[in-house]
Amino acid sequence: SEQEREFQDKIDNDIKIEPRDWMPDDYRRTLIRQMGQHAHSEVVGQLPEGNWITRAPTLERKAILLAKVQDEAGHGLYLYSAAETLGESRDELVRLLHEGRMKYSSIFNYPTLNWADIGAVGWLVDGAAIVNQVALQRTSYGPYSRAMIRICKEESFHARQGYHAIMNMAFGTPEQKRQAQSAVDRLWFPAIMMFGPTDADSTNSDQSMAWKIKVKSNDELRQQFVDQTVPQIEYLGLDLPDAGIKWNEERGHYDFSDPDWSEFFDVIKGNGPCNVDRLKDRVAAWDDGEWVRDGLMAHAQKKAAAKVAAE
Protein backbone atom coordinates (compact mmCIF):
# COMPACT_ATOMS: atom_id res chain seq x y z
CA SER A 1 0.00 0.00 0.00
CA GLU A 2 0.88 3.65 -0.27
CA GLN A 3 1.24 3.92 3.53
CA GLU A 4 3.52 0.97 3.65
CA ARG A 5 5.70 2.36 0.92
CA GLU A 6 5.97 5.76 2.60
CA PHE A 7 6.76 4.05 5.89
CA GLN A 8 9.51 1.99 4.37
CA ASP A 9 10.90 5.03 2.56
CA LYS A 10 11.29 6.87 5.83
CA ILE A 11 13.08 3.93 7.31
CA ASP A 12 15.34 3.57 4.34
CA ASN A 13 16.19 7.26 4.61
CA ASP A 14 16.93 6.99 8.32
CA ILE A 15 13.99 9.15 9.29
CA LYS A 16 12.76 8.04 12.72
CA ILE A 17 9.25 6.70 13.13
CA GLU A 18 7.41 8.61 15.85
CA PRO A 19 4.46 7.47 18.02
CA ARG A 20 1.77 9.25 15.98
CA ASP A 21 3.09 8.10 12.62
CA TRP A 22 1.32 5.36 10.77
CA MET A 23 3.06 1.98 11.13
CA PRO A 24 2.29 -1.61 10.15
CA ASP A 25 0.65 -3.67 12.89
CA ASP A 26 3.49 -6.16 12.80
CA TYR A 27 6.07 -3.41 13.24
CA ARG A 28 4.18 -2.20 16.30
CA ARG A 29 3.78 -5.71 17.69
CA THR A 30 7.39 -6.64 17.11
CA LEU A 31 8.62 -3.44 18.72
CA ILE A 32 6.36 -3.85 21.74
CA ARG A 33 7.64 -7.36 22.22
CA GLN A 34 11.26 -6.34 21.85
CA MET A 35 11.05 -3.26 24.08
CA GLY A 36 8.96 -5.11 26.62
CA GLN A 37 11.47 -7.94 26.82
CA HIS A 38 14.24 -5.42 27.11
CA ALA A 39 12.42 -3.62 29.94
CA HIS A 40 11.70 -6.90 31.71
CA SER A 41 15.37 -7.79 31.42
CA GLU A 42 16.37 -4.61 33.21
CA VAL A 43 13.90 -5.35 36.00
CA VAL A 44 14.69 -9.03 36.42
CA GLY A 45 18.36 -8.16 36.06
CA GLN A 46 18.18 -6.50 39.48
CA LEU A 47 17.87 -9.91 41.09
CA PRO A 48 21.19 -11.62 40.34
CA GLU A 49 23.05 -8.47 41.37
CA GLY A 50 20.76 -7.84 44.32
CA ASN A 51 21.80 -11.29 45.47
CA TRP A 52 25.18 -9.81 46.41
CA ILE A 53 24.25 -6.32 47.60
CA THR A 54 23.89 -7.54 51.17
CA ARG A 55 27.30 -9.23 50.90
CA ALA A 56 29.25 -6.54 49.08
CA PRO A 57 32.74 -6.60 50.57
CA THR A 58 33.35 -2.87 51.11
CA LEU A 59 31.24 0.23 51.55
CA GLU A 60 32.50 1.53 48.23
CA ARG A 61 31.56 -1.67 46.38
CA LYS A 62 28.19 -1.69 48.04
CA ALA A 63 27.57 1.89 46.95
CA ILE A 64 28.66 1.14 43.38
CA LEU A 65 26.40 -1.89 43.19
CA LEU A 66 23.43 -0.02 44.62
CA ALA A 67 23.93 2.76 42.09
CA LYS A 68 24.10 0.24 39.27
CA VAL A 69 20.96 -1.59 40.29
CA GLN A 70 19.20 1.72 40.68
CA ASP A 71 20.22 2.65 37.14
CA GLU A 72 18.88 -0.62 35.84
CA ALA A 73 15.50 -0.09 37.40
CA GLY A 74 15.61 3.34 35.79
CA HIS A 75 16.33 1.77 32.38
CA GLY A 76 13.33 -0.43 32.92
CA LEU A 77 11.24 2.70 33.39
CA TYR A 78 12.55 4.37 30.19
CA LEU A 79 11.79 1.28 28.19
CA TYR A 80 8.32 0.72 29.59
CA SER A 81 7.63 4.37 28.81
CA ALA A 82 8.89 3.91 25.28
CA ALA A 83 6.61 0.89 24.90
CA GLU A 84 3.72 2.95 26.23
CA THR A 85 4.12 5.35 23.30
CA LEU A 86 2.92 2.42 21.20
CA GLY A 87 -0.21 2.05 23.30
CA GLU A 88 0.85 -0.85 25.50
CA SER A 89 0.64 -0.17 29.25
CA ARG A 90 3.32 -1.15 31.70
CA ASP A 91 0.80 -3.10 33.78
CA GLU A 92 -0.17 -5.18 30.76
CA LEU A 93 3.46 -5.95 29.92
CA VAL A 94 4.13 -6.90 33.53
CA ARG A 95 1.08 -9.15 33.53
CA LEU A 96 2.36 -10.95 30.43
CA LEU A 97 5.77 -11.40 32.08
CA HIS A 98 4.25 -12.80 35.23
CA GLU A 99 2.08 -15.20 33.27
CA GLY A 100 5.18 -16.48 31.52
CA ARG A 101 3.96 -15.13 28.17
CA MET A 102 6.80 -12.65 27.74
CA LYS A 103 10.49 -13.33 28.20
CA TYR A 104 13.49 -11.52 29.57
CA SER A 105 17.12 -12.03 28.69
CA SER A 106 18.16 -15.65 29.23
CA ILE A 107 21.36 -14.54 30.99
CA PHE A 108 19.47 -13.61 34.14
CA ASN A 109 18.45 -17.22 34.61
CA TYR A 110 22.01 -17.99 35.63
CA PRO A 111 23.05 -17.62 39.27
CA THR A 112 25.62 -15.23 40.73
CA LEU A 113 27.73 -17.52 42.88
CA ASN A 114 30.74 -15.56 43.99
CA TRP A 115 31.74 -11.92 44.23
CA ALA A 116 33.66 -12.04 40.95
CA ASP A 117 30.36 -12.87 39.25
CA ILE A 118 29.24 -9.34 40.07
CA GLY A 119 32.24 -7.96 38.24
CA ALA A 120 31.63 -10.38 35.40
CA VAL A 121 27.99 -9.38 35.12
CA GLY A 122 29.01 -5.76 34.72
CA TRP A 123 31.79 -6.50 32.31
CA LEU A 124 30.46 -9.41 30.23
CA VAL A 125 26.70 -9.07 30.53
CA ASP A 126 26.47 -5.31 30.39
CA GLY A 127 29.26 -5.47 27.83
CA ALA A 128 27.22 -7.75 25.61
CA ALA A 129 24.14 -5.64 26.18
CA ILE A 130 26.02 -2.53 25.09
CA VAL A 131 27.18 -4.11 21.83
CA ASN A 132 23.54 -4.75 21.08
CA GLN A 133 22.34 -1.38 22.34
CA VAL A 134 24.92 0.70 20.51
CA ALA A 135 23.58 -0.83 17.33
CA LEU A 136 20.02 -0.11 18.47
CA GLN A 137 20.76 3.59 18.89
CA ARG A 138 20.18 3.62 15.13
CA THR A 139 16.91 1.72 15.38
CA SER A 140 14.03 3.17 13.36
CA TYR A 141 11.58 3.87 16.19
CA GLY A 142 12.34 7.29 17.66
CA PRO A 143 11.49 6.77 21.33
CA TYR A 144 13.33 3.44 21.38
CA SER A 145 16.39 4.92 19.73
CA ARG A 146 16.46 7.82 22.18
CA ALA A 147 16.05 5.46 25.16
CA MET A 148 19.00 3.45 23.86
CA ILE A 149 21.18 6.52 23.67
CA ARG A 150 20.51 7.39 27.30
CA ILE A 151 20.90 3.82 28.46
CA CYS A 152 24.14 3.19 26.58
CA LYS A 153 25.88 5.98 28.43
CA GLU A 154 25.11 4.48 31.81
CA GLU A 155 25.78 0.94 30.68
CA SER A 156 29.31 1.67 29.52
CA PHE A 157 29.97 3.16 32.93
CA HIS A 158 28.72 -0.07 34.50
CA ALA A 159 30.81 -2.21 32.20
CA ARG A 160 33.93 -0.28 33.17
CA GLN A 161 33.14 -0.62 36.85
CA GLY A 162 32.50 -4.31 36.41
CA TYR A 163 35.81 -4.78 34.66
CA HIS A 164 37.52 -2.91 37.46
CA ALA A 165 35.87 -5.16 40.06
CA ILE A 166 36.92 -8.36 38.33
CA MET A 167 40.42 -6.92 37.82
CA ASN A 168 40.76 -6.66 41.58
CA MET A 169 39.73 -10.28 41.83
CA ALA A 170 41.95 -11.53 39.00
CA PHE A 171 44.96 -9.62 40.32
CA GLY A 172 44.16 -10.47 43.95
CA THR A 173 44.88 -13.50 46.10
CA PRO A 174 44.87 -17.00 44.57
CA GLU A 175 41.41 -17.53 46.08
CA GLN A 176 40.18 -14.35 44.44
CA LYS A 177 41.71 -15.26 41.11
CA ARG A 178 40.06 -18.66 41.30
CA GLN A 179 36.71 -16.95 41.74
CA ALA A 180 37.37 -14.67 38.79
CA GLN A 181 38.25 -17.67 36.62
CA SER A 182 35.12 -19.49 37.73
CA ALA A 183 33.00 -16.46 36.90
CA VAL A 184 34.41 -16.21 33.39
CA ASP A 185 34.12 -19.94 32.81
CA ARG A 186 30.49 -20.06 33.88
CA LEU A 187 29.31 -16.82 32.29
CA TRP A 188 31.12 -16.88 28.94
CA PHE A 189 28.75 -19.07 26.99
CA PRO A 190 25.60 -17.62 28.58
CA ALA A 191 26.95 -14.17 27.64
CA ILE A 192 27.51 -15.01 24.00
CA MET A 193 24.07 -16.63 23.92
CA MET A 194 22.60 -13.22 24.78
CA PHE A 195 22.77 -12.28 21.09
CA GLY A 196 20.26 -15.00 20.31
CA PRO A 197 20.43 -18.02 18.01
CA THR A 198 22.69 -18.12 14.99
CA ASP A 199 21.51 -16.16 11.99
CA ALA A 200 20.61 -19.42 10.29
CA ASP A 201 18.21 -20.29 13.11
CA SER A 202 16.95 -16.79 13.80
CA THR A 203 13.32 -16.40 12.82
CA ASN A 204 11.84 -13.10 11.66
CA SER A 205 15.22 -11.51 11.41
CA ASP A 206 14.89 -10.36 7.82
CA GLN A 207 11.77 -8.34 8.39
CA SER A 208 13.22 -6.82 11.58
CA MET A 209 16.36 -5.86 9.70
CA ALA A 210 14.35 -4.32 6.88
CA TRP A 211 12.39 -2.29 9.44
CA LYS A 212 15.60 -1.43 11.25
CA ILE A 213 14.17 -2.77 14.49
CA LYS A 214 17.24 -4.90 14.35
CA VAL A 215 20.28 -3.21 12.93
CA LYS A 216 22.89 -5.93 12.93
CA SER A 217 22.52 -9.68 12.81
CA ASN A 218 22.96 -11.87 15.90
CA ASP A 219 26.16 -13.37 14.57
CA GLU A 220 27.66 -10.00 13.66
CA LEU A 221 27.01 -8.68 17.14
CA ARG A 222 28.33 -11.84 18.76
CA GLN A 223 31.55 -11.65 16.77
CA GLN A 224 31.99 -8.02 17.75
CA PHE A 225 31.58 -8.92 21.42
CA VAL A 226 34.01 -11.81 21.22
CA ASP A 227 36.58 -9.65 19.46
CA GLN A 228 36.45 -6.96 22.10
CA THR A 229 36.33 -9.33 25.04
CA VAL A 230 39.02 -11.89 24.39
CA PRO A 231 41.89 -9.41 24.78
CA GLN A 232 40.32 -8.27 28.05
CA ILE A 233 40.31 -11.82 29.39
CA GLU A 234 43.93 -12.12 28.39
CA TYR A 235 44.80 -8.85 30.09
CA LEU A 236 43.28 -10.24 33.29
CA GLY A 237 45.66 -13.18 33.06
CA LEU A 238 42.78 -15.64 33.12
CA ASP A 239 42.46 -18.78 31.05
CA LEU A 240 40.19 -18.45 28.06
CA PRO A 241 36.83 -20.08 28.84
CA ASP A 242 36.65 -21.79 25.44
CA ALA A 243 39.46 -23.87 23.97
CA GLY A 244 38.13 -22.95 20.54
CA ILE A 245 39.01 -19.28 20.85
CA LYS A 246 41.77 -18.47 18.39
CA TRP A 247 42.76 -15.43 16.35
CA ASN A 248 41.91 -15.95 12.69
CA GLU A 249 44.33 -13.83 10.72
CA GLU A 250 42.42 -14.30 7.51
CA ARG A 251 39.04 -13.21 8.86
CA GLY A 252 40.56 -10.57 11.12
CA HIS A 253 38.36 -11.95 13.89
CA TYR A 254 38.54 -14.46 16.69
CA ASP A 255 37.17 -17.90 16.00
CA PHE A 256 35.24 -19.40 18.87
CA SER A 257 33.13 -22.42 19.68
CA ASP A 258 29.39 -22.53 19.37
CA PRO A 259 27.63 -22.52 22.69
CA ASP A 260 25.44 -25.49 23.54
CA TRP A 261 22.30 -24.27 21.84
CA SER A 262 20.19 -26.98 23.41
CA GLU A 263 20.98 -25.35 26.75
CA PHE A 264 19.90 -21.99 25.35
CA PHE A 265 16.56 -23.36 24.22
CA ASP A 266 16.11 -25.12 27.55
CA VAL A 267 16.62 -21.83 29.37
CA ILE A 268 14.23 -20.05 27.02
CA LYS A 269 11.65 -22.75 27.72
CA GLY A 270 11.90 -22.03 31.44
CA ASN A 271 14.35 -24.72 32.50
CA GLY A 272 17.37 -22.57 33.27
CA PRO A 273 18.99 -22.77 36.68
CA CYS A 274 17.07 -19.78 38.04
CA ASN A 275 13.97 -19.33 35.87
CA VAL A 276 11.55 -20.53 38.51
CA ASP A 277 13.09 -18.55 41.35
CA ARG A 278 13.42 -15.34 39.33
CA LEU A 279 9.81 -15.36 38.20
CA LYS A 280 8.61 -16.37 41.67
CA ASP A 281 10.52 -13.41 43.16
CA ARG A 282 9.03 -10.97 40.71
CA VAL A 283 5.50 -12.28 41.06
CA ALA A 284 5.79 -12.26 44.84
CA ALA A 285 7.06 -8.66 44.77
CA TRP A 286 4.08 -7.68 42.66
CA ASP A 287 1.47 -9.61 44.63
CA ASP A 288 2.84 -8.59 48.04
CA GLY A 289 2.86 -4.99 46.86
CA GLU A 290 -0.74 -4.90 45.73
CA TRP A 291 -1.95 -3.37 48.98
CA VAL A 292 0.70 -0.66 48.66
CA ARG A 293 -0.32 0.29 45.13
CA ASP A 294 -3.99 0.20 46.10
CA GLY A 295 -3.36 2.24 49.24
CA LEU A 296 -1.40 4.98 47.47
CA MET A 297 -3.97 5.10 44.69
CA ALA A 298 -6.85 5.42 47.14
CA HIS A 299 -5.07 8.24 48.92
CA ALA A 300 -4.40 10.09 45.68
CA GLN A 301 -8.08 9.83 44.78
CA LYS A 302 -9.14 11.12 48.19
CA LYS A 303 -6.81 14.08 47.80
CA ALA A 304 -8.07 14.82 44.31
CA ALA A 305 -11.67 14.60 45.49
CA ALA A 306 -10.94 16.90 48.42
CA LYS A 307 -9.39 19.41 46.08
CA VAL A 308 -12.40 19.37 43.78
CA ALA A 309 -14.73 19.76 46.75
CA ALA A 310 -12.72 22.72 47.97
CA GLU A 311 -12.90 24.51 44.67
Binding site: Q46, I53, A56, A63, V69, A73, G74, W291, H299
Partner: protein, 254 residues
Amino acid sequence: MSVDKQHLLQFLLRQGDNTLVLGHRVSEWCGHSPILEEDIALANTALDLIGQTQMWLGYAAEVQGEGKSADDLAFLRDAWDFRNVLLTELPNGDFGRTLLRQFLFDAFQSVLMGRLMQSSDETVAAIAAKASKEVAYHVERSADTVVGLGDGTEESHRRMQEALEYLWPYVGEMFASDETDAAMAAAGIAPDPASLREEYDALISKVLTDATLDIPAATYAHKGGRTGYMHTEHLGHLLTSMQWLQRAYPGCEW
Protein backbone atom coordinates in the same frame (compact mmCIF):
# COMPACT_ATOMS: atom_id res chain seq x y z
CA MET B 1 43.39 8.42 73.72
CA SER B 2 41.89 11.03 76.01
CA VAL B 3 38.48 10.51 77.51
CA ASP B 4 37.03 13.07 75.16
CA LYS B 5 38.29 11.15 72.19
CA GLN B 6 36.69 7.96 73.47
CA HIS B 7 33.39 9.78 73.76
CA LEU B 8 33.80 11.33 70.34
CA LEU B 9 34.53 7.90 68.90
CA GLN B 10 31.38 6.49 70.52
CA PHE B 11 29.36 9.35 69.16
CA LEU B 12 30.70 8.83 65.64
CA LEU B 13 30.12 5.08 65.78
CA ARG B 14 26.53 5.73 66.77
CA GLN B 15 26.06 7.93 63.74
CA GLY B 16 27.84 5.62 61.33
CA ASP B 17 26.31 2.42 62.61
CA ASN B 18 22.81 3.87 62.35
CA THR B 19 23.25 4.66 58.69
CA LEU B 20 25.20 1.48 57.96
CA VAL B 21 22.68 -0.88 59.48
CA LEU B 22 19.63 0.91 58.17
CA GLY B 23 21.26 1.20 54.74
CA HIS B 24 21.81 -2.52 54.78
CA ARG B 25 18.22 -3.22 55.70
CA VAL B 26 16.91 -0.95 52.97
CA SER B 27 19.22 -2.57 50.43
CA GLU B 28 17.57 -5.93 51.15
CA TRP B 29 14.56 -4.68 49.18
CA CYS B 30 16.51 -4.57 45.93
CA GLY B 31 14.32 -5.94 43.14
CA HIS B 32 11.43 -6.80 45.45
CA SER B 33 9.52 -3.53 45.81
CA PRO B 34 5.81 -3.13 45.12
CA ILE B 35 6.53 -0.97 42.09
CA LEU B 36 9.53 -0.11 39.97
CA GLU B 37 9.66 3.51 41.15
CA GLU B 38 10.08 2.21 44.70
CA ASP B 39 12.94 -0.06 43.70
CA ILE B 40 14.67 3.06 42.47
CA ALA B 41 13.78 5.13 45.51
CA LEU B 42 14.85 2.47 48.01
CA ALA B 43 18.14 1.85 46.22
CA ASN B 44 18.71 5.58 46.30
CA THR B 45 17.95 5.79 50.01
CA ALA B 46 20.30 2.91 50.75
CA LEU B 47 22.96 4.54 48.62
CA ASP B 48 22.71 7.82 50.52
CA LEU B 49 22.87 5.99 53.84
CA ILE B 50 25.95 4.04 52.81
CA GLY B 51 27.54 7.26 51.61
CA GLN B 52 26.91 8.87 54.99
CA THR B 53 28.34 5.76 56.63
CA GLN B 54 31.58 6.21 54.73
CA MET B 55 31.88 9.72 56.14
CA TRP B 56 30.94 8.92 59.74
CA LEU B 57 32.96 5.74 60.04
CA GLY B 58 35.83 7.28 58.11
CA TYR B 59 36.02 10.02 60.69
CA ALA B 60 35.51 7.50 63.50
CA ALA B 61 38.50 5.50 62.26
CA GLU B 62 40.56 8.67 62.13
CA VAL B 63 39.62 9.64 65.68
CA GLN B 64 40.29 6.10 66.87
CA GLY B 65 43.82 6.47 65.51
CA GLU B 66 44.63 2.79 65.23
CA GLY B 67 45.18 2.81 61.51
CA LYS B 68 41.84 1.27 60.70
CA SER B 69 39.55 2.18 57.84
CA ALA B 70 35.82 2.75 57.67
CA ASP B 71 35.60 -0.70 56.08
CA ASP B 72 37.44 -2.26 59.01
CA LEU B 73 34.90 -0.74 61.36
CA ALA B 74 31.96 -1.79 59.23
CA PHE B 75 33.03 -5.32 58.45
CA LEU B 76 35.19 -6.51 61.30
CA ARG B 77 33.29 -5.64 64.47
CA ASP B 78 30.84 -8.14 65.90
CA ALA B 79 27.32 -7.28 67.02
CA TRP B 80 28.13 -6.12 70.56
CA ASP B 81 30.51 -3.48 69.25
CA PHE B 82 27.83 -1.90 67.09
CA ARG B 83 26.27 1.30 68.39
CA ASN B 84 23.20 1.71 66.19
CA VAL B 85 19.80 2.19 67.77
CA LEU B 86 17.68 -0.96 67.74
CA LEU B 87 15.16 0.67 65.40
CA THR B 88 17.59 0.48 62.50
CA GLU B 89 18.27 -3.25 62.82
CA LEU B 90 14.66 -4.45 62.99
CA PRO B 91 13.63 -6.70 60.12
CA ASN B 92 12.00 -4.97 57.18
CA GLY B 93 8.60 -6.54 57.59
CA ASP B 94 6.26 -5.45 54.82
CA PHE B 95 6.85 -2.37 52.67
CA GLY B 96 4.75 -0.25 54.99
CA ARG B 97 6.79 -1.10 58.04
CA THR B 98 10.00 -0.42 56.14
CA LEU B 99 8.78 3.01 55.10
CA LEU B 100 7.45 3.83 58.55
CA ARG B 101 10.75 2.82 60.15
CA GLN B 102 12.45 5.02 57.57
CA PHE B 103 10.21 7.93 58.41
CA LEU B 104 10.72 7.58 62.16
CA PHE B 105 14.46 7.58 61.57
CA ASP B 106 14.50 10.27 58.87
CA ALA B 107 12.55 12.59 61.14
CA PHE B 108 15.13 12.10 63.87
CA GLN B 109 17.99 12.65 61.46
CA SER B 110 16.40 15.77 60.03
CA VAL B 111 16.27 17.33 63.50
CA LEU B 112 19.71 16.08 64.50
CA MET B 113 21.54 17.02 61.30
CA GLY B 114 20.16 20.55 61.56
CA ARG B 115 21.83 20.89 64.92
CA LEU B 116 25.03 19.10 63.97
CA MET B 117 25.62 21.59 61.19
CA GLN B 118 26.43 23.98 64.04
CA SER B 119 28.84 21.54 65.65
CA SER B 120 32.03 22.89 67.17
CA ASP B 121 33.78 19.99 65.42
CA GLU B 122 34.31 21.10 61.84
CA THR B 123 34.33 17.60 60.39
CA VAL B 124 31.07 16.74 62.13
CA ALA B 125 29.56 19.98 60.87
CA ALA B 126 30.70 19.26 57.33
CA ILE B 127 29.34 15.71 57.31
CA ALA B 128 26.04 16.94 58.73
CA ALA B 129 25.82 19.67 56.11
CA LYS B 130 26.19 17.11 53.34
CA ALA B 131 23.87 14.58 54.97
CA SER B 132 21.20 17.11 55.79
CA LYS B 133 20.41 17.72 52.14
CA GLU B 134 19.83 14.01 51.59
CA VAL B 135 17.91 13.68 54.83
CA ALA B 136 15.58 16.52 53.88
CA TYR B 137 14.68 14.65 50.73
CA HIS B 138 14.32 11.31 52.54
CA VAL B 139 12.01 12.63 55.22
CA GLU B 140 9.80 14.34 52.70
CA ARG B 141 9.51 11.16 50.70
CA SER B 142 8.99 8.77 53.58
CA ALA B 143 6.48 11.11 55.18
CA ASP B 144 4.49 11.27 51.95
CA THR B 145 4.41 7.51 51.68
CA VAL B 146 3.40 7.08 55.31
CA VAL B 147 0.55 9.52 54.79
CA GLY B 148 -0.47 7.87 51.54
CA LEU B 149 -0.59 4.41 53.05
CA GLY B 150 -2.01 5.44 56.42
CA ASP B 151 -4.79 7.38 54.72
CA GLY B 152 -5.22 4.90 51.85
CA THR B 153 -7.41 1.81 51.92
CA GLU B 154 -8.71 0.06 54.99
CA GLU B 155 -6.03 -2.58 54.58
CA SER B 156 -3.17 -0.15 54.11
CA HIS B 157 -4.37 1.80 57.15
CA ARG B 158 -4.51 -1.34 59.26
CA ARG B 159 -1.05 -2.44 58.19
CA MET B 160 0.44 0.96 58.93
CA GLN B 161 -1.18 1.11 62.35
CA GLU B 162 0.21 -2.36 63.12
CA ALA B 163 3.63 -1.24 61.93
CA LEU B 164 3.43 1.76 64.22
CA GLU B 165 2.51 -0.42 67.20
CA TYR B 166 5.50 -2.64 66.43
CA LEU B 167 7.99 0.17 65.89
CA TRP B 168 6.88 2.63 68.51
CA PRO B 169 8.70 1.03 71.48
CA TYR B 170 11.95 1.52 69.54
CA VAL B 171 11.55 5.28 69.08
CA GLY B 172 12.50 6.28 72.63
CA GLU B 173 16.04 4.96 72.39
CA MET B 174 16.97 7.68 69.90
CA PHE B 175 16.49 10.23 72.68
CA ALA B 176 18.34 8.42 75.44
CA SER B 177 21.26 10.30 76.95
CA ASP B 178 24.37 9.07 78.68
CA GLU B 179 27.78 10.39 79.60
CA THR B 180 28.91 10.35 75.98
CA ASP B 181 26.03 12.61 75.08
CA ALA B 182 26.81 14.83 78.04
CA ALA B 183 30.43 15.08 76.92
CA MET B 184 29.37 15.90 73.36
CA ALA B 185 26.96 18.54 74.57
CA ALA B 186 29.52 20.07 76.90
CA ALA B 187 32.03 20.28 74.06
CA GLY B 188 29.45 21.77 71.71
CA ILE B 189 29.93 18.87 69.33
CA ALA B 190 26.39 17.54 69.43
CA PRO B 191 23.16 18.30 71.25
CA ASP B 192 21.86 16.13 74.05
CA PRO B 193 19.45 13.81 72.20
CA ALA B 194 16.81 14.37 74.88
CA SER B 195 16.69 18.00 73.81
CA LEU B 196 15.52 17.00 70.33
CA ARG B 197 12.39 15.19 71.43
CA GLU B 198 10.03 18.13 71.39
CA GLU B 199 10.85 19.11 67.83
CA TYR B 200 10.70 15.47 66.78
CA ASP B 201 7.33 14.90 68.38
CA ALA B 202 5.90 17.95 66.66
CA LEU B 203 7.17 16.74 63.31
CA ILE B 204 5.94 13.17 63.54
CA SER B 205 2.66 14.10 65.20
CA LYS B 206 1.75 16.20 62.21
CA VAL B 207 2.62 13.49 59.71
CA LEU B 208 1.03 10.65 61.66
CA THR B 209 -2.12 12.72 62.11
CA ASP B 210 -2.27 13.35 58.37
CA ALA B 211 -1.78 9.62 58.00
CA THR B 212 -4.78 9.06 60.31
CA LEU B 213 -2.57 6.88 62.53
CA ASP B 214 -2.82 6.77 66.32
CA ILE B 215 0.41 7.13 68.26
CA PRO B 216 0.45 4.29 70.78
CA ALA B 217 -0.05 5.28 74.40
CA ALA B 218 2.60 2.90 75.71
CA THR B 219 5.72 4.67 76.92
CA TYR B 220 7.97 1.61 77.26
CA ALA B 221 11.18 2.04 75.27
CA HIS B 222 13.47 -0.78 74.21
CA LYS B 223 17.10 0.13 74.50
CA GLY B 224 20.55 -1.39 74.37
CA GLY B 225 21.59 -0.64 70.80
CA ARG B 226 23.35 2.70 71.13
CA THR B 227 25.28 1.41 74.17
CA GLY B 228 25.83 -2.01 72.60
CA TYR B 229 24.67 -3.66 75.82
CA MET B 230 21.81 -5.59 74.29
CA HIS B 231 21.02 -5.56 70.59
CA THR B 232 18.17 -7.60 69.17
CA GLU B 233 18.79 -11.10 67.86
CA HIS B 234 18.30 -9.68 64.38
CA LEU B 235 21.60 -7.80 64.21
CA GLY B 236 23.75 -10.92 64.46
CA HIS B 237 21.99 -12.46 61.48
CA LEU B 238 22.34 -9.27 59.47
CA LEU B 239 26.09 -9.28 60.09
CA THR B 240 26.52 -12.84 58.84
CA SER B 241 25.60 -11.57 55.39
CA MET B 242 27.10 -8.13 55.56
CA GLN B 243 30.50 -9.23 56.81
CA TRP B 244 30.74 -12.55 55.00
CA LEU B 245 33.39 -11.76 52.43
CA GLN B 246 35.64 -9.79 54.76
CA ARG B 247 35.44 -12.58 57.32
CA ALA B 248 35.94 -15.43 54.84
CA TYR B 249 38.75 -13.72 52.90
CA PRO B 250 40.53 -11.41 55.32
CA GLY B 251 42.99 -8.86 54.06
CA CYS B 252 41.96 -8.82 50.40
CA GLU B 253 41.64 -5.87 48.06
CA TRP B 254 38.16 -5.72 46.56
